[in-house]
Symmetry: D2
Subunit: 310 residues, 4 copies
């Protein structure tokens, strides 16, 4: 079997980079444009702390939807499963990540899962703190701790762009207010918090650290920061819904929990073995990094990472 | 940690049986009625061949949707992944198992996955053989071999009821003909084969054997009967879509691949460890066994079977 | 054939009132509650100015969705058909009046018609004026003129309740912003104007005057206030979409253009013959007055008012 | 105002023919291909029997969906409104004519209206007769009588093509069986009858005669063949749903009841004044004749035919 090494990761980068050109870079994020099409950075951190990294692993980008994992972990700690899953279900959906139609389903009346924008906004309303600022700093501090990088911070320009282009998310939030999921007084705070956490800047190193934190069942430097049960719940949801409406294909082809963001990042988690961070800003129509997806498939096959084989 | 034993399984049966009363038994299947509400049988077979069994484990019922797993394995062997996934996707959906609406989605135009009725009928058209009879006997022989029970057979009465109540499935099939997925000359054969395999009669023992066959990556008595890659593909699809539109909750609460049928059966697969067969004919609105679901949650927790914890 | 008279209208009121008890009164509107269940007021004004009226014709209620007709007439005058129908289509839909799903239809991307809440909010953005106040007063002045009642005014309490319960409409507005239909800077103004016009208070007399104004093709006291072509367009849309997703039944049973509101009002228009105003606050699930609907059916049959018979 | 004359109709043909080139001719109908793109025939028959005709008014084509009007009239006579509207609703929809999704709406559970394929198949099951042959000949005889043309007949080739391309309609029929709308024993007969009536061959003359028959409220040569109430019901449904999901635009632009078919025919009805028959085989994506639609708009404007103006 293939052995993990910097050379091996370098090889993957070289092999997968060409696939990016068929996608496109989200252009409402400041500082990102089509010139970044061919960037690809990969970092793998094994559970025993070895780091393997290559390519554009210093390329800085915003968390975007990977924030949904962070918020879910904290909300589960803050309020517990019962309260969280009263507001949002755990079921995968065939709808796009920013879909509103399923909220109108007259029987269901809540977001299908916390990996959809609607579900993530509902989850953001369940992070404790007296002000948005306080709540955001709790989240930011958590990200700094689990990534081991005290310099991680939000980008003001990205945040402003999030707010400016936030009409669709605002529509989702008001719809949830009308369903009784999101109290009126929580609406602006939940949206603001959601936009801010989306705007936290990272590289593939931080994504790998996040993945590794989950692969270690919520432990950082020996300290249990998140209840392993909540980590398990989050990983199961990432398994069925983490890659938007491509989650099923990724379950077959890659076979472990992952979460992607429209900035082109992906965090992968192989419980007990490793965390994987990828960045490839050229995404396909479903919102997933094209080169990143290729690289994950390759890594899973070469290193036999799928949960569905022995 | 809890240790597997007949007594332990007996305890689970006793604990979970009471939950069944809130469901109902599908009544279009001959010989099944509400008097079977409280039946519950559980069989676990470990990868090294130990059998633990209790409750109504001699209760005979039809495979129903668990047939979808069998057909998918054979179709993958017969035609390979490319051909199979040209006709049917691998994505989970929030729709009910017998839904037709998503076929009308003008971009998608194929069933979301092989665990839906539509997808399963498409898959049934990809089982080789010159006649339906020949094709069915290949499937039956396969089931007999992997369950190690030469007496497994189809029930004529159940089959006739399937045909008689087949309007919805026929509607799905004709819709797929109109989309070009199901050739006109294959339509009746695919439906007939689908109805017949649904009507194969088993107990929780056979379901556990099927689960164990998959947990051993497609090996029976040392012989590799199905390519491990096809087993992995099937397990990944069971993980995201095996429990209909409750698959997400089961991923969180149970955490390994399963497949249910409306007769109340469930097959569970813990790769490398065990296969689980359950029968509890009282099902909920989404088509899953209520007592069976309870028992699976308990087993997963007690024996730490989830893929998302260490 | 039956002849119009106060006695005849009185008879209709008596006959139709009992049907109301199966519905319910919208209770988010201040001053309205289930004690109003059995109210029914009917006023008919013939094109030559005769007034026939009976029952609770002095019962005061808010325009609610009947405002959609008023706003459409003014927007057509202010911007013309091309601009208006770039933002909103003219097609009937089977969806509920406050539906958002159809906005997500990836081909369509605009409200189906101006009688839906979404369409009406889009139309409200096309009423000229530098401030919401100025725009509202243009609309109010128009209503005062065509009803011949200078005392018609908005109710502050109803308006506040509209704003307070406005989450669903706000969700529709932001979704339309995300589609590019409603510019961000127009959004709050359009919503505010929409809520205000909904809160204009009337009786069955004013509704009959509005109907009569349209039956006279946009003339008031000899003065052509609205282009007859715009009146025709509005009437055609009322014909196919005026009674929400019961419009088809009303076309068959009543057979002329109508518009209803959730406060229980209906305006009917028999071009060249008469305007009809009804109020019956007990509405059914689709949002239409139950007793009002009965009365319209009776009037149409007795007086042979349908457009589809000679 | 413009006066009806052969010259005037000739002028309309000349003016509207060029618009056809943007559409396409349905090619599953034998004998029809893109070479017929520019054909346009128009016939108008006034209520007092004057005939005005021009263009390709001898071009022979199949009734296709215009058959839905014929079948509805006969079913209403055979079983009455209550029975017919238990099987099919009267509401317009935004869905395409061959849509199945709305049948899956768990509250509604029947076709929205008789102008959809689903609704028309349900209606075809309500035409009396002991055999399909007998039922078809009743319909054919009716068409011959109301068009005054004893030679009108079905085309065997078109019928065979209808059957061969019938998968979508068969899917609709089986779905309705599963809903309990279409009894199993009626299914094949209803489909067969539907296909046959679709295959009756006509020219614009026959379409104008059908329109005129309805404009005279169901009278032919002084004989009341259809209850005027059933004619009214049919016209109201044509008004809200006769032009598929363009019915709303046609209500605004043309303003009287019409019905189109995918072969490019349209029948228009101006109650008390005239029947209009058009054929222009180039249709748009929604299934309506492009040149025919242009011609109707022109006729309505020139002759002031809309019901929504005086």
């Amino acid at each position: 079997m293939t052995k993990l090494s910097n050379d091996y990761i370098q090889e993957i980068v070289k092999e997968c980079r060409p696939f990016a050109s068929s996608g496109s870079v989200i252009d409402h994020i400041p500082g990102k444009d089509q010139s970044h099409l061919t960037k690809l950075g990969i970092t793998v951190i094994s559970n025993d702390g070895e780091v393997y990294s290559a390519g554009d692993d210093d390329y800085v980008f915003s968390l975007q939807s990977i924030s949904k994992v962070i918020n879910l972990l904290i909300a589960l700690e803050d309020f517990g499963e019962d309260t969280v899953f009263q507001k949002v279900d755990k079921e995968p959906t065939d709808d796009f990540f920013n879909s509103i139609s399923n909220l109108e389903d007259y029987e269901h009346q809540k977001p299908y899962n916390p990996m959809l924008n609607s579900g993530a906004i509902a989850v953001a309303s369940l992070i404790k703190g007296t002000t948005v600022d306080e709540r955001f700093h709790r989240v930011l501090e958590f990200v700094r701790t689990i990534t081991g990088n005290e310099k991680v911070d939000m980008d003001e320009g990205v945040y402003k762009a999030e707010v400016k282009n936030g009409a669709r998310n605002r529509s989702l939030a008001y719809f949830m207010e009308s369903l009784g999921i999101l109290p009126h007084q929580e609406l602006e705070a939940a949206l603001d918090l959601y936009f801010r956490v989306n705007s936290i800047m990272v590289t593939s190193h931080e994504l790998a650290e996040i993945g590794c934190f989950l692969a270690r069942q919520g432990k950082k430097e020996g300290k249990q920061m998140i209840d392993p049960r909540h980590v398990g719940t989050t990983l199961a949801i990432m398994m069925t819904s983490g890659m938007y409406n491509e989650s099923g294909s990724y379950a077959v082809d890659v076979g472990f929990p992952m979460k992607s963001g429209v900035s082109g990042g992906i965090t992968g988690v192989v419980t007990g073995r490793m965390g994987i961070g990828l960045i490839g800003p050229a995404i396909n129509k479903k919102g997933n990094s094209i080169a990143g997806g290729k690289a994950l498939r390759k890594l899973s096959q070469d290193l036999n990472l799928t949960l569905f084989h022995t």
